[in-house]
Subunit: 312 residues, 2 copies
Amino acid sequence: MFFEGPEKKVELVVEGAPSLRQLGEAFWRRVVVASGAQILSQIHSDDCDAYLLSESSLFVYDARVIMITCGQTTLAKAAELMMGALEDHTLALMIYERKNEHFPEYQHTAFIDDARTLHALAPGRALRFGAPDSHRLMLFHTDAPYTPAAGDVTLEVLMHGISAEAAARFHAVPNATPEGVAARTGIADMLPGFTLDEHLFEPAGYSLNGLNGAAYATIHVTPEAIGSYVSFETNLDFRADPSRLIRQVVGIFEPASFDVITFSPAPITAPDLPAHRLRNHVEQILDCGYHVAFRHYYRPQTRPGRAFALPL
Amino acid sequence: MFFEGPEKKVELVVEGAPSLRQLGEAFWRRVVVASGAQILSQIHSDDCDAYLLSESSLFVYDARVIMITCGQTTLAKAAELMMGALEDHTLALMIYERKNEHFPEYQHTAFIDDARTLHALAPGRALRFGAPDSHRLMLFHTDAPYTPAAGDVTLEVLMHGISAEAAARFHAVPNATPEGVAARTGIADMLPGFTLDEHLFEPAGYSLNGLNGAAYATIHVTPEAIGSYVSFETNLDFRADPSRLIRQVVGIFEPASFDVITFSPAPITAPDLPAHRLRNHVEQILDCGYHVAFRHYYRPQTRPGRAFALPL
């Protein structure tokens, strides 16, 4: 009846360790299985192996891994498995995130459980960006000193309540090839020069990984009527125009509300999104060096809505 | 570490049945126990028996019962017990509500489970007022024809993120008598002519029932830092000035956001709350005759916030 789109994410950085890519596909497959997902396909660049998963994505670099999973996955278990494979003292950074779920009652663990599991392996702090009754990002990070590189930025745009027109483009139809979707919807235009790996799910849903050298981008679409959701994430350096990518992706999906989350080594300019209202804005410098900004936007209502009928 | 303030509520109306009050205190005690709560105290008027509970309130009239419970209570079980005590064909109306919880993962059931349980006993419909990623009220109602009386109105003001100053007034302190709280905080001024029944909880929390003839009012305060919440509900006829009570109670608790929910036999004037922004507005006429309006307001942010540290 619904699918839990809002994701968990883990990011690990190692220093003085062998290349994480050389742990091999069989190892990363075990990591993915530990989360409860499967590898569907993969693409590669000189810098990164990008795996498209049955529930989201995995990006493996020599010294960094980014894994994002949705649904009822158990990403903390995958993070534990990764950490168990690292030699002592090579973990430089870990950040574990959970976006507020639509139906947390169907998750195997709560964020605080995951954070405590990870804290026992690598000490850190747990933070909530946003209010407990609204959009929020829960974040655990190791508190060992770490200095992000000058170009180390991440942009996340997490969208709720996409328009019916946008949702319709991401339902599987007979003879549809996933390759057409990015081109038809404008997603490909957002990511010039990227190699794309796309998947359309039955009966609904769409995932995309993109690689362009060291740059990654990923989109995951949950178009179901109850709890529709889309995430977009990239490490492309968006700082020259912090609004462009956000406006593009919000223009494609027309969400009723969305969160913009940025990680950067120093404060950055706020995005300019005049069609939306800023509901909440949280800024925090993490002990591990990142400046994190969380902004929750919504599209103002033009007329009263109706109640949504739930099937009994 | 936290207490789940957001409530469940059930309202039952009978026609052609013996007085519900004459089912007796022992019966109502069993109903309360079925929800997982206890009766703490009671007050009475000619029209109503009002029970203050360990988790919220129960109001019993001759032909109507309103029961509100918070925490991890199982109110649908209490509703089942009530319905089992009714003679055939005397149930005229049932409405069951659940406000979005802060931590639904710690509830025994989800709303849809409760709605299906009740639907099997008395057919109806389930509705969601609000979006699945924001403030919302889930509501099940019987769909048998029903015509609310001209004066049959309800006002609910459900407040999240109350100010630290307001919260501090509702922590138990040595030698504090609950009777002082309503007078000190301005609550008593809101409810002139009401007999009040108050309770301060250890280490924190406050409940109040008030009766004035057939009018009831109730307030429940969860002042804990994680997920602070206050509910105010009354059947006082607020239609002559739909803003006054809302402004008073919001002025006392200074919430970051709140929902105003009204039930009435016909459309009513919108409240005028210029200090707050209307985030979402849903209007729906139920098959059982009530006009229901749901409005979610928030206080605009004046500067960026900081992340909230969660204890590990």
